[in-house]
């Protein structure tokens, strides 16, 4: 398991793993979609796997759900090897990206489907389906409604209720919210988190949106090119990214290439100047490095303000981000991003020539 920060290992004994992946690989011909993943999923946690498209996250999920078999490695559930157990024999359930609702069945019939499979009688099926409809906040009179006549958000709820009707130990989600408009998505994200707390089940969620992951998850795993590059709490991912990829994946960042000068001090490669940097977290001694500064930690310095590092630049663009304003500042050939809260915005008449500053503690020094 990838434990990246001392903070995580200092915390109380983590809950025992429900699902364990050891050396999981999946190749399709010459292409390796998932490349040696080791992962412990803790019982009852909300784990989100996040990564750009093509990073192998859906393949990973399909293996966990039993729709694909790993080429190498073992998946164990409660210590039992489940590599070759078919999906219908696993106590897990997947909420599809397409939702995969049965179009010829009503809302109630869709939700009761897993119960019908188990041979539960019609009256008990209906009672349980109605109960689940309350859980996912669907009105009772939707029971007989044609599922294809439901709105996008309602369909999400039906799919969720149907998965819960199966009563799985682990629920998988394959970007079910990707086709939902922003406002509804925010509501559903919070409801999903509530549901996770209420049911106490293990949720494994897959998305390409880190924003979505940040809102809901207990832990986030960042995937790239078939590997999990970092796993940790949302705070760890945001506050202590292990490399530039994770850093840039979390949001827009300023990246500066630096190298050691003859006197051992850090010098800019693409912008002039000497920089005071925090040592790399893993304690390595580097001759070249990247400094990553988030736009919200970049400041525009007043005449009497100071910072560890300074850069002179010219504001040439500004964007409103709602409560914040983003400035694009040209420093030599580089463009730096600065985000200020609306209250601290530059006055319209202000000089477009500015001094940027940031403190060493607010930046990351990364190997590549």
């Amino acid at each position: 398991m990838l434990q990246t920060t001392p903070a995580a290992s200092q915390s109380a004994e983590p809950p025992k793993p429900i699902l364990q992946l050891v050396g999981i690989r999946k190749s399709f011909g010459a292409f390796t979609a998932v490349d040696t993943i080791d992962l412990d999923v803790r019982e009852g946690e909300f784990l989100t796997i996040v990564g750009p498209s093509g990073s192998g996250k859906t393949t990973l999920l399909r293996m966990l759900a039993g729709m694909d078999t790993p080429s190498e490695g073992n998946i164990t559930l409660h210590g039992q090897l489940i590599n070759d157990v078919p999906p219908n024999k696993r106590p897990t359930c997947l909420v599809f990206q397409s939702l995969a609702l049965f179009p010829h069945k009503s809302v109630g019939e869709n939700i009761a489907f897993p119960l019908k499979v188990k041979g539960v009688d019609a009256a008990a099926r209906k009672a349980r389906a109605l109960e689940l409809m309350r859980v996912v906040r669907l009105p009772e009179n939707y029971f007989d409604k044609n599922v294809m006549k439901c709105s996008g958000g309602e369909r999400q709820r039906v799919a969720l209720a149907r998965a819960l009707a199966y009563d799985p130990e682990v629920l998988f989600f394959d970007e079910p919210l990707s086709a939902i408009d922003y406002k509804l998505k925010k509501t559903l994200e919070k409801e999903l988190k509530d549901l996770h707390r209420e049911t106490g089940k293990t949720f494994i969620y897959i998305t390409h949106s880190l924003e979505e992951a940040m809102v809901m998850s207990d832990r986030i795993g960042v995937m790239r090119a078939g590997r999990i590059v970092q796993i940790g709490t949302p705070e760890e991912i945001y506050g202590a990214p292990v490399d530039r990829f994770v850093c840039e994946f979390v949001g827009e960042v300023n990246t500066l290439k630096v190298k050691r000068g003859p006197d051992g001090a850090w010098q800019g490669v693409d912008v002039p100047g000497r920089f005071t940097l925090a040592p790399p977290r893993d304690g390595k001694t580097l001759d070249e490095a990247f400094v990553v500064v988030r736009p919200e930690f970049m400041r525009i310095l007043g005449p009497d303000e100071s910072a560890d590092n300074r850069l002179e630049g010219v504001v040439y663009n500004e964007y409103s981000l709602g409560s914040r304003i983003q400035y694009q500042v040209r420093v030599g050939a580089k463009v730096m991003l600065v985000e200020l809260s609306r209250g601290r915005a530059l006055p319209a008449s202000a000089d477009r020539k500015v001094t940027l500053g940031w403190d060493a503690a607010d930046a990351f020094t990364l190997e590549s």
Binding site: N88, K118, N146
Partner: protein
């Protein structure tokens, strides 16, 4: 075709009257586009139907179409001493059996074309279409040569020193075989299309929710493929009930089917009014059956679109 377009009032057509009136009298674009096919159907489809309908009420064994009116032809047909009911029975029975056998035979092929044969599907489809390029009669005579005494099957078996092939030719059984053979593509392709409409996601989801193969087939695949299957069944039934060549060529007239009866009335016995009356009855029967079936099948509802 009578939908005259009401031209929207146009600003630039200042002088009202002649020009505007002429514009209003012009057929709409849709009507003009439909004109060729409407004419073709009117001459090629509707006119013969009207003629047949007229003949059905003409004096028996005459050509007094539209000048005489009698129900004598229908009376003859409903006379129980007439064996036309037997032909009708054979046609319906063989058509139903054809549909039933084809449903069972075509389903696995359609499933294979969709999910098993992969890149070979296109080639296999061509093999099923290819026979349609050859005249049906030629193909049926081919089967006769295959099954006939000292033919391909019998002759080869005898040459190998065996007892020889079974004598299957000129029986109702071989007629049924011929019909199943002839109409296979008409069942197969609508069925293949129907099965292709079943999203694989749904099958995966059902399996993930604990369902086994049979349960998924019964609850998901079959209902969702049903529109294609039913259209295939309807198509083959309508074609099979009007089939004659199989009974004549392979069946060797061991049984007489209804369309053969109609043909006999028009040719051998030169009784056009009787043949017409029979044709009208069969047309109404098939038409009523088809409309009834279609009214019972709500394709949209089956697919969950309504």
């Amino acid at each position: 075709m009578a939908d005259l377009a009401i031209a929207p009032p146009r600003q630039e057509a200042a002088p009202e009257g002649a020009a505007q009136l002429r514009h209003a009298r012009m057929l709409s674009v849709g009507a003009r586009c439909a004109l060729p096919v409407a004419l073709l159907l009117g001459i090629g489809f509707l006119a013969p139907l009207v003629a047949i309908f007229g003949y059905a009420f003409a004096t028996p064994r005459s050509f007094d179409v539209f000048t005489s009116f009698t129900l004598a032809n229908f009376a003859t047909l409903f006379d129980t001493t007439n064996t036309v009911w037997l032909s009708f029975f054979w046609s319906c029975g063989l058509a139903l059996l054809t549909v039933a056998i084809l449903a069972v035979v075509a389903y696995p092929i359609a499933y294979g074309l969709n999910l098993v044969f992969g890149r070979w599907s296109a080639l296999i489809s061509v093999f099923f279409v290819f026979p349609l390029f050859v005249s049906e009669n030629v193909r049926l005579y081919g089967w006769v040569l295959f099954f006939i005494k000292n033919g391909v099957l019998d002759g080869t078996l005898k040459w190998l020193g065996l007892a020889g092939g079974p004598e299957v030719l000129y029986s109702p059984g071989i007629t049924l075989f011929g019909m199943v053979y002839t109409y296979l593509p008409f069942m197969l392709f609508p069925m293949t299309l129907g099965l292709a409409l079943v999203p694989r996601d749904l099958v995966d989801a059902a399996r993930d929710l604990g369902a086994g193969r049979l349960f998924i087939w019964r609850e998901i695949e079959l209902p969702l493929a049903m529109p294609g299957i039913l259209i295939g069944m309807l198509l083959t039934f309508v074609l099979a009930i009007g089939a004659t060549a199989e009974a004549k060529i392979l069946g060797g007239q061991s049984i007489i089917v209804i369309s053969h009866d109609i043909e006999i009335a028009f040719t051998y016995s030169q009784n056009w009014p009787l043949g017409s009356a029979l044709a009208v009855l069969v047309t109404f029967f098939i038409g009523a059956l088809t409309l009834f079936a279609l009214s019972k099948l709500d394709l949209d509802r089956m697919l969950g679109r309504r």
